[in-house]
């Protein structure tokens, strides 16, 4: 793990699927340790950098959010292909969490409530621009293999730092003390 080519710095990415961005906020909560991380790795994709296309050859990707739409699904498949170590970051990525709360009632009911029953003008379920919902919102590993699971809503900054720094050093992620859902 870590750098493939001698001397090259490990490439780190983050991606945000169906989540509230809380996990990214917790990532930022690493505060000054962010500098430490970025001193050891290149951040090649994510909400914090201005890259349009998810690049090839990423060493570690942190995934926030559940897979809820066709857009999410397309993204996560691409990310998986281009990433060595895929980290499901936070409860939405690990269990589908809050996005998954629609599963018992079904996507159709949710769409109707949002776009028909509650609409004041022009009630219509959109079929353009907004990505199509999947029938169920599912955790990342329901679609692609995941290497590391980091629970929490959100996971603590300490835990994220611990996991990221180990992975960047080519070690496996340590077992989380007090790691829990919620």
């Amino acid at each position: 793990m870590g750098a493939d080519h001698a001397g090259a710095r490990p490439r780190l990415a983050t991606i945000w699927l169906d989540g509230c961005s809380g996990c990214h906020m917790s990532l930022l909560d690493m505060d000054e340790r962010l500098i430490e991380v970025l001193a050891r790795a290149d951040l090649v994709y994510g909400a914090l950098v201005d890259t349009k296309e998810f690049p090839e050859g990423v060493d570690v990707t942190l995934v926030e959010g559940a897979v809820s739409s066709q857009d999410d699904l397309r993204k996560i498949r691409q990310v998986r292909e281009r990433t060595k170590v895929l980290v499901a970051l936070g409860d939405c990525a690990v269990t589908s969490n809050v996005p998954g709360m629609r599963n018992p009632i079904g996507a159709r009911a949710v769409l109707e409530r949002a776009y028909l029953e509650n609409a004041t003008v022009n009630p219509k379920i959109p079929d353009q621009v907004v990505p199509a919902l999947l029938a169920e919102s599912l955790p990342v590993h329901a679609w692609v293999p995941v290497d590391v699971f980091v629970t929490g809503c959100p996971p603590s900054a300490d835990r994220i730092f611990e996991v990221v720094s180990s992975l960047l050093e080519g070690r496996s992620a340590p077992a989380g003390q007090e790691q829990r859902f919620g």
């Binding site: 066709q70 079904g106 159709r108 199509a132 169920e136 679609w143």
Partner: protein, 587 residues
């Protein structure tokens, strides 16, 4: 259940001359000539034949005999004659002939039967050499098809209640128990626990508050109807066994817990109890001794789990039929906390012969560790289906091909399922195995209560595993987590296989889950629920692989239509959560 509805006397049908040919008090009563009987027509009045119209046949035949003017022909009501696939059945024991499908299309006509009864040329076919009957040894079914199930006098006339008389007048309770221990009799309800040891435990338990005997007649395995047939054919034999057991363990109250789905068995049982009380074989001062036993029938209400003994006790006490952890075992703390002996119908039905003929009689039949006989309900893809009783240790092949007559032309044998939802499927390679407790268990199945379902190449074993898991999922009582949720999860995985959407990882998952549910469930239902999965995986893994890797069902049974859980929903449209992509690709 409306006990008593047949007790009302009916006026003999017009044209009948009761004085000459015999007396018929009620439409369900036999026709008995006043003079000597030359031949009798024993008409099967068990549920199988009755559902094919043997009750009407019985009434019609009586009228026809009366009308024919014959005065030496009896028409009798008997229990199961065994060969259910050829019902309605009539046997003429004096001639050793069996008449099949009487009154049905392609069978014996009523006129033909009547001609045979009154004329000199016997029709039907010879019973003696028929392989269906020739390989059988009847202990439990000794009187089945021979005595009137609704007449205690008929039972007594055939030697019934001699064992009870011997026990209560000539033997001490301990001697009775010792005899049962020596006979090697083991529980016929499934697990095969030594019956004598169980009796001894209950006998030794302190019972200041009284003790109970309970007959488990909650025959729940799908494809099994042994107990029903025994109760419909000779309920007195079961009551006699219970009475002997009660005497041995010191109980004075008893219950028979029977399925609501068996109204005829319940009716005959209730009538048998009333008659036995009236004839001094139950109730107070049995056979002139100070021994007393009061038996009540409790009717189940449709819950498979109540066959588990602690659940059965909870149900008898009016509660939800949920099992509880053992110990304490019912033998020390059962009904209302009192020592309680629980045996199943067939076990009790074995007891009278053990006492009357001595333990050696049973011990002389069967294998080293599985003594005596076993009753099976042989069904499925064999030519002849019905109720059979065979000595333990008979080869499975003999049962399927000799007794059952093999498979229909053009069909290929695939498996025999024994033991119901806790049992397994035995493949062709093992057809020469001996049918006994140990060998079945080594083969990954169980003896169970006696269901034996033959499957041919039109059955898919993954589908069969799914069927049993569906059964267990619906019948789980819901008390313990592994059974309640584990059966649902295993069903989901099997369902995906049947739809062609499962992965190899899920096949592994299924095996892991099956092991966990077996090891951690509270009672036998949960612990046994994975067995059909294990046994089909053991012998028919190629079928699983065909479903999972090639998305193909070799038997052509499974839909293999890509639902549920089609991995990728169609592009473009918003998914509505309707069917197609209900769950994710990898799960």
């Amino acid at each position: 259940m409306t006990p008593g509805e047949d007790d009302a006397p009916v006026v003999p049908a017009a044209g009948r001359a009761p004085g000459s040919a015999g007396r018929v008090r009620r439409h369900t009563d036999p026709l008995v000539p006043e003079g000597p009987v030359r031949v009798s027509a024993n008409v099967c009045q068990a549920a199988g034949c009755m559902s094919m119209g043997s009750d009407r046949l019985f009434a019609d035949l009586k009228e026809d005999v009366v009308a024919s003017g014959a005065t030496d022909v009896a028409v009798r009501r008997v229990g199961c004659l065994g060969l259910c696939s050829a019902g309605p059945l009539v046997e003429v024991p004096e001639q050793g002939r069996l008449f099949e499908k009487v009154g049905a299309a392609g069978g014996t006509s009523l006129a033909e039967l009547l001609g045979s009864l009154t004329g000199e040329a016997p029709g039907g076919r010879e019973v003696a050499d028929d392989p269906f009957f020739a390989r059988q040894v009847k202990v439990v079914l000794e009187r089945s098809g021979k005595v009137d199930p609704e007449d205690v006098e008929d039972y007594v006339a055939s030697g019934g209640y001699e064992a009870l008389a011997k026990a209560v007048t000539m033997m001490s309770p301990d001697e009775v128990t010792d005899e049962v221990v020596r006979s090697g009799l083991r529980g016929r309800g499934g697990a095969g626990y030594p019956t004598g040891l169980k009796w001894r435990t209950v006998a030794k338990a302190p019972g200041e508050g009284g003790k109970y005997v309970v007959c488990n007649a909650d025959e729940g395995d799908p494809g099994a109807f042994m107990d029903r047939s025994v109760l419909e054919s000779c309920p007195q034999q079961v009551l006699e066994g219970m009475a002997i057991a009660a005497y041995a363990v010191g109980a004075s109250r008893g219950y028979v817990y029977a399925r609501a789905e068996y109204p005829l068995a319940v009716k005959r049982l209730q009538s048998a109890i009333r008659q036995a009380e009236a004839s001094g074989h139950l109730g107070r001062d049995i056979l002139g001794t100070r021994f007393e036993l009061h038996i009540e029938v409790r009717i189940g209400a449709g819950a498979f789990v109540c066959g588990e003994e602690t659940a059965l006790l909870a149900s008898i006490q009016g509660g939800r039929g949920t099992p509880r952890p053992r110990p304490p075992y019912p033998a020390s703390a059962g009904l209302w906390g009192c020592p309680t002996l629980i045996n199943n119908v067939e076990t009790f039905a074995n007891v009278p012969s053990v006492i009357s003929r001595g333990s050696g009689y049973l011990a002389g039949t069967g294998t080293e560790r599985s003594k005596g006989t076993k009753v099976f309900a042989l069904t499925g893809a064999v030519v002849r289906t019905g109720l059979i009783e065979v000595p333990m240790g008979l080869r499975l092949r003999d049962i399927v091909f000799d007794i059952g007559g093999g498979l229909a032309p053009g069909r290929r044998f695939k498996a025999v399922q024994t033991g119901g939802p806790s049992g397994g499927c035995i493949p062709e390679d093992l057809l020469d195995m001996s049918v006994d407790y140990e060998t079945l268990s080594q083969a990954g199945s169980i003896m169970g209560s006696g269901g034996m379902i033959v499957m041919d190449d039109t059955s898919c074993m993954v589908d069969v595993a799914r069927y049993f898991m569906d059964f267990c999922r619906e019948e789980s009582c819901g008390k313990c987590l592994p059974c309640r949720v584990g059966t649902q999860q295993m069903y989901r995985l099997l369902d995906r296989m049947c739809h062609g959407t499962a992965t190899m990882a899920q096949l592994e998952e299924l095996e892991g889950l099956a092991g966990m549910v077996r090891a951690t469930s509270l009672c036998g239902l949960g612990q046994g629920a994975p067995n059909p999965v294990f046994s089909t995986l053991r012998y028919f893994r190629d079928e699983y692989l065909a479903h999972v890797q090639d998305h193909r069902c070799p038997a052509g049974v499974c839909p293999m239509d890509g639902t549920p859980g089609a991995p990728v929903p169609p592009e473009g449209a918003l998914m509505a959560g309707t069917g197609a992509a209900s769950t994710g690709g990898a799960r």
